[in-house]
Symmetry: none
Subunit: 118 residues, 2 copies
DNA sequence: CACGTTGTTCACAGCGCGATCACGACCGCA
DNA sequence: TGCGGTCGTGATCGCGCTGTGAACAACGTG
């Protein structure tokens, strides 16, 4: 799945143009670094699916994720910060503990269950 | 039966993607822990049939169920809670006292069945 | 060279998860 | 009716996974 070959990826109000290195949030442009952009493209090209850190790293950095490497987490954080600044009312990147991350526009947050409500 | 090799399992309005660690309930994502997810996959890969605790434990935890271990019960409970929160009008996990659990979307009566029909 | 940006790594904080325990409800049975 | 076995369910606790800020090095530019 070569995301860089498509003209435009759409995830909710995000429009990503891989070949231009451009991201539009509700129409106006975001300023992302190369890594941030690569990560977003990697996520967007699997939108709605859970992507493991290994996979994200391979797609964005281009190698095997070394044990203990937290680069993904750090950049997920940076990406979240910028996305949230652009669209404060939405949540795009969801964490699936033990599995990876998922990019999803619609649902702000999946069901959350503490333990039978109190 | 290696459930992790199929793309997607469907049980009623549940869609389970073993390789992603993702569950969709009526289209939108659930947040399950690794154990909860493993258990659901174990049940789903035997949907409609009663699965013993020994079998569930072996499939999910990967070892023999020790005498007195209630892990299965506890996680069945957690799973039920999350499924019920997602789809309150349905019951998926049915208890067969003395035998085990059964995952089934439609049926609601867990009667002590000798299953005559079939 | 001075400076701002970016990429990488580290350290610490916070919280979710997994394993277990405890108690109570329920049921079949003598 | 008392007893033992089976389940449901809330609670506890240590640990690992994640979130997050910051330090530092590597560049690119004027």
């Amino acid at each position: 799945m070569q995301a860089t070959e498509v003209e435009s990826l759409r995830v909710g109000e995000l429009e990503i143009r891989p070949r231009e290195g451009l991201v539009l949030a509700r129409g106006h442009a975001l300023t992302l670094s190369v890594r941030e952009f690569g990560l977003l493209v990697a996520l967007a090209s699997h939108a709605g699916r859970v992507v493991s850190r290994e996979e994200l790293y391979r797609l964005t950095w281009g190698g095997a994720l070394r044990c203990g490497d937290r680069s993904c987490d750090v950049y997920i954080h940076k990406l979240r910060a910028k996305l949230e600044r652009a669209l404060p009312d939405q949540r795009f990147i969801h964490t699936h503990v033990g599995f990876g991350y998922r990019l999803d526009p619609g649902a702000s947050h999946p069901f959350h269950t503490a333990s039978t409500g109190r």
